[in-house]
């Protein structure tokens, strides 16, 4: 059966040409991968022309005080409280920005649109947003551009022509590198590893797994992949699947990757209950609050995500740079205060940088 599958994959691979290769690890997708260099040298930016929008006749805002409103997907949750904190921090540091966060209390496209619409009428200079829907938000953002308002997105993008720039928190290959590097560090270069994911077809997870396989093959070739299991995004199922993995592979299993914010804490719980803390490493994507108990008990050493405070900070810095005219279409990087120079990718996106690793030392500072 395995041979047949392999033959089918090879056959498919040949048919679809050399650019497409099936992921070496189950649960990855078949899209081309672009693993980063092992030492973290940033990949050369692929030249792509600016595809963002342009505000109509914006007034000269260079160095002048501007009012900015931040409309996240919703307010009142830890994650967007953190981005909001970053925005306020950047505004205070810049000194010439009056920024506030306002938005719906539930992630509702219609309410978010109404909020932005009202702020356009009230005459703000800049709008920061995290879109609940990339297309639904586009008409109202285009209206803002037509009124000469500077528009910058973060966290969740809109269609490119409806905003000027988008601050991208993490690329797939960056997340993949961070996960695999941490695993190799904790479980050893020749560790046997398994993956707990949502489903094999969930787009983000499939992309990450494909990138992880490609990066591991290139930079940690001795790492041995054992199995990928599906656990939806279900707490109980994730726990059961992780427990099954631990029982099935015994001492061969040295590490578990959690691919969702549900799978990672559930895997950590499974390892804890099996009494394998320190013997099986858990590395995964998760929010700090869910992982604090395991990190404090030293059962989990690294949790990978991005830093939402930095994300908000970068978005505010980018908006100021756009308003000042120092960030123009065609630029390859932008100065973002204490974060230094951030790279421009995909035409009109700004990359926040490498993903952030939460450890025992810093996890206490985050609340989301």
């Amino acid at each position: 059966m395995k041979k047949l599958t392999l033959a089918a994959i090879v056959g498919l691979g040949l048919m679809s040409g050399s650019a497409l290769a099936a992921s070496a690890w189950t649960g990855g997708d078949d899209l081309p991968t672009s693993p980063l260099a092992c030492d973290g040298t940033p990949a050369a930016a692929v030249a792509k022309p600016y595809d963002g929008g342009v505000p109509t006749n914006p007034p000269d805002r260079k160095g002048k005080k501007i009012t900015v409103v931040d409309v996240p997907k919703l307010i009142g949750i830890g994650y967007f409280n953190a981005t909001s904190k970053g925005i306020a921090g950047a505004a205070a540091e810049l000194g010439n920005v009056d920024a506030k966060t306002d938005g719906p209390t539930k992630a509702n496209i219609d309410e978010q649109i109404t909020f932005i619409d009202n702020y356009i009428t009230s005459g703000v200079d800049g709008i920061l947003f995290a879109a609940n829907d990339p297309v639904a938000i586009a008409p109202v953002l285009k209206k803002a551009l037509e009124k000469g308002i500077n528009v910058v997105g973060y966290d969740a993008n809109s269609t490119p022509d409806a905003r000027q720039w988008f601050v991208n928190q993490a690329q797939f290959n960056g997340i993949a590198k961070s996960l695999v590097d941490n695993m190799a560090k904790e479980a050893g270069e020749d560790a046997g590893v398994a993956i707990v994911t949502s489903t094999f077809t969930t787009p983000n997870q499939a992309r990450w797994i494909a990138e992880m396989a490609a990066y591991a093959a290139q930079c940690h070739p001795k790492m041995k992949w054992l199995e990928t299991v599906e656990a939806q995004e279900d707490n109980n199922l994730s726990f059961n699947q992780a427990t099954t993995l631990i029982n099935k592979y015994g001492d061969d299993l040295k590490g578990i990757f959690g691919m969702t914010s549900v799978a990672t804490p559930a895997s950590a719980e499974a390892v804890t209950q099996a009494g394998k803390c320190g013997k099986i490493a858990v590395v995964g994507l998760a929010t700090p609050n869910a992982m604090k108990p395991y990190v404090e008990k030293d059962c989990v050493k690294s949790v990978v995500l991005w830093n939402p405070v930095d994300l908000g900070y970068a978005a505010m810095q980018v908006l100021r740079a756009v308003a000042d005219g120092t960030l123009q279409p065609g630029a390859t990087s932008v100065k973002a205060g204490k974060l230094g120079d951030l790279q421009v990718i995909n035409g009109s996106e700004i990359l926040l940088g490498s993903p952030y690793t939460f450890t025992k030392e810093n996890i206490g500072q985050f609340d989301f």
Binding site: T105, N108, I109, N118, T121, D133, V135, A136, P139
Partner: protein, 314 residues
Amino acid sequence: MTAAKLFRHETILAALTVIAMIVLASLSDKFFTAENLLNQGRLMAEVGLISLAMTFVIVTGGIDLSVGSILGLTAILLGVFWKNLGLPLPAAILLAMVCGTFAGFVNGLIITRFSVPPLIATLATLALYRGLAEGISEARSVRGYPEWFFFFGQGEVLGVPFQLWVLGIATAIAAVILGLTPFGRATYATGANEVAARFSGIRVNAAKLWIYTASGFCAALAAVIFVSRVTTTRSDMGTGLELDAITAVVLGGTSIFGGRGTIIGTALGLILIQALKNGLALSGVKGDGTIVVIGLVLIGAILVGALFDRNRGG
């Protein structure tokens, strides 16, 4: 029916609306401009259309909680008929609206044929229709509609947003039907005393069936306008819309126990809520503060209404 009493509540509401407008205009110079008011009319149209039918529903002593779900279902069907089944867009729009109207008809059928209380019947279909919308769409959005379609949600006729014309005409029709026709009187009679209405030879069930079907139709019409305004379909569209509509109707003086209420009251309720939401936002009040003010106004208006009621009723 004491016409004087109805007139009373609406006069209070109208006065309250005027006062609110003046206060809001003094708080922000951006509020009382033609551009802003027309834009608010645009944003108000979907809830407005649903509130009109909701007025009839509540006057009969019923409630329709499924309108937000019908909106979501119609939006998804519109997208699926057009994109997945390859129907021409006008046909897809019509067919989706027929389905939305049928969803309302099913509500009416459950309520009249099986004597299920409207609250329970539409609570069930609230879940059912939303579930269908999510199942049919598989959580995928339909996008890429042609430019002409955006006219319904973004276009203007004689400088006034298209959907504001629709809302205006629909309001006039609803006001005439409820206020001046035998059907309107049957609606009031049903809500005031259903048993008495039946014995008076009023076809109560037929009236209710028509009203719930019309509620489905209004939600379907709102769905088309909504999709056109935001240029995409999603299965979570219209979530919570039923509460916005019920709020406007109740603020407009319609009794939740049935038998009392007017379209003019609903229209005033709608305008007052929209003006508060917009005006407070423009004068720098944050979203959470706005919700608090709207809650207080709602309680205040109902208390004042009850006070007048007691004075008259003895």
